[in-house]
Symmetry: C2
């Protein structure tokens, strides 16, 4: 989809246009395919969070659904496409939430799912994947090793490989969050989006840049897993040797070039936050908003904590992207 680049506040229209892989019309159409249980997620102001952070905080709550994350929006599109194409098997690598959502979307359509995950992924995510009847294979390494292994399975078995952020359904599915924000009637200045592979950031960013170009789209990633943020800043793919963060949902090391290219068009900024800020964000979400969130979903709060002046007095939306946590870890964070 073309996006008009604004220069000095003036849309230059067809003079300067930059391409992404995402299409607004497909994002709109996606809402007719995605199960309504994933759509129309709550958007509400948390007075307590706002008072604490010195700005207006609107929470877009993406965990009040059967898989407790936003990933169902994308996997619904994937599973629907598989069925329409006569395919009955799919494999993906997942930090947990994608696999969970894919297992949910596939089961009700009679599609067989294999998920490859790190054995260090949260038990709650792995248990959920098993409970939904998917085949779960664990690798003794991180998410990047799981990605390699999933590629191998897809090739060997000759089945569809779902690749998060690369496969456009994952981005455009997440883009429906952007539509809901724009259509909510709520006024906001900034949207904070957790950044991992980039599906959610490109999806939401695409819609906002097209329909609400005045809104700032800020991606937030942990300092311990900064590959995509560094790539965005250097405008080229930068990999990292390791990814070390409690925000397991966004702990990738190898950004995908096509996704980076889109993100360069639709994101206004990408910032890194410290682990202690993420933990404090998790705590604040519980104490001030009564929400049990996974660390990736607290990245927005972490960004506000680290740079209060940037957000002071502004109307901020933070996308609470998931709530799957192991309670043992969770109790340590909130203690």
């Amino acid at each position: 989809m073309n996006i008009a680049v604004r220069w000095m506040g003036t849309p230059l229209g067809s003079v300067v246009m930059r391409q992404t892989r995402l299409e607004l019309e497909r994002i709109r159409a996606a809402r007719g395919v995605i199960d309504p249980v994933f759509l129309g997620s709550p958007l509400f102001e948390s007075g307590a969070l706002g008072a604490r952070l010195g700005c207006t905080v609107q929470v877009k709550l993406e965990m009040a659904n059967p898989v407790r994350s936003f990933k169902g929006r994308g996997t619904e599109l994937v599973a629907d496409g598989l069925v329409r194409g006569g395919e009955r098997r799919v494999v993906c690598a997942s930090a947990g939430n994608l696999g969970l959502a894919l297992a949910w979307s596939a089961r009700r359509r009679g599609v067989e799912v294999a998920v490859v995950a790190s054995r260090f992924a949260p038990e709650v995510k792995l248990d959920g994947i098993r409970a939904l009847g998917a085949r779960l294979e664990l690798v003794d390494g991180d998410h990047e090793l799981a990605r390699e292994r999933a590629v191998g399975i897809a090739q060997y078995d000759g089945i569809r490989l779902l690749e998060d952020s690369l496969d456009i359904e994952t981005c455009e599915g997440a883009g429906t969050i952007g539509l809901e924000l724009v259509e909510s009637g709520v006024a906001f200045d900034v949207v904070l989006v957790a950044l991992g592979g980039g599906a959610m950031a490109t999806g939401i960013g695409q819609v906002l840049k097209e329909l609400a170009p005045g809104v700032e789209v800020v991606c937030v990633q942990p300092e311990g897993a900064p590959a995509m943020t560094r790539s965005w800043r250097e405008r080229r793919v930068v990999s990292t040797e390791s990814a070390k963060t409690i925000a397991d949902g966004v702990a990738g090391r190898f950004p995908i070039a096509e996704v980076l290219s889109d993100l360069l068009v639709v994101a206004d900024d990408a910032v890194l936050v410290r682990e202690e800020s993420i933990v404090e964000g998790v705590r604040m979400m519980l104490h001030d908003a009564g929400l049990v969130v996974e660390p990736s979903a607290a990245l927005g709060i972490a960004a506000m904590l680290e740079d209060p002046e940037r957000f002071a007095g502004r109307r901020v939306v933070t996308v609470v992207c998931g709530g799957n946590v192991d309670m043992d870890s969770y109790y340590r964070w909130i203690a």
Copy 2:
């Protein structure tokens, strides 16, 4: 609104009709008045809760909004009515959530609010009421003393007294939850509703009896605050000397005759649950569904825990009516 009494499965139509004060058409119309932030609350299956309880559990989540309870549905109607009637002041007694919601609805309409509450109400509710700019008066006694005091203020100041469950807006506002359940496309056999004064139970019950009469409406109240349940069973108002329960949102002692009369028409059953089951329900909501709920919102889980055979294999909706808890108490419950 007339409700056709079914006899041997056959609607008797106009032959035998029983009256309630609620009107389905007004409940439908209410959706045009209530701020959308309170409408369309999530309804989703919790696989983990279902696995644990041996049935299908659908959660209707009424706390993902700025006041973290369902009460905004009713207070929106009240505040709208005040403004249309040219009234600018209102007083209510509240266990906390009604006052919080009324303060929210009134503030944005320029209506002055006074709330009378027990000084034993959760701090988070009292702080929230103050933060929204309402005048808060605390009584050194329980909710019934607060009700008396609110009557006094209304008479002395000559302002509108909002009475929870008696004032039809509070029941019909809650009734919009019933509409959303019916329109969700989700199939269910039983709805579990927390029972306090009766606003939520009569509102949801009314809609279900009219639009989905095959669904069983089961009210759940703590053994420690059983007044309305006893009244429902004896078909006459039964008061209690005391109300002792951690479920502060439903701790009334003096049922209102008009509400009981409606409840007798629309509720299929009213059950009492033990305090330890409520605590276990609060715990399960956290551990299995990642939801921080106040005890009143765990009453449905408590009912399933106490009578598993009744619910085995059935499709159950439990209305999670609020999430305002003091964290100190909460940590004790989940410890």
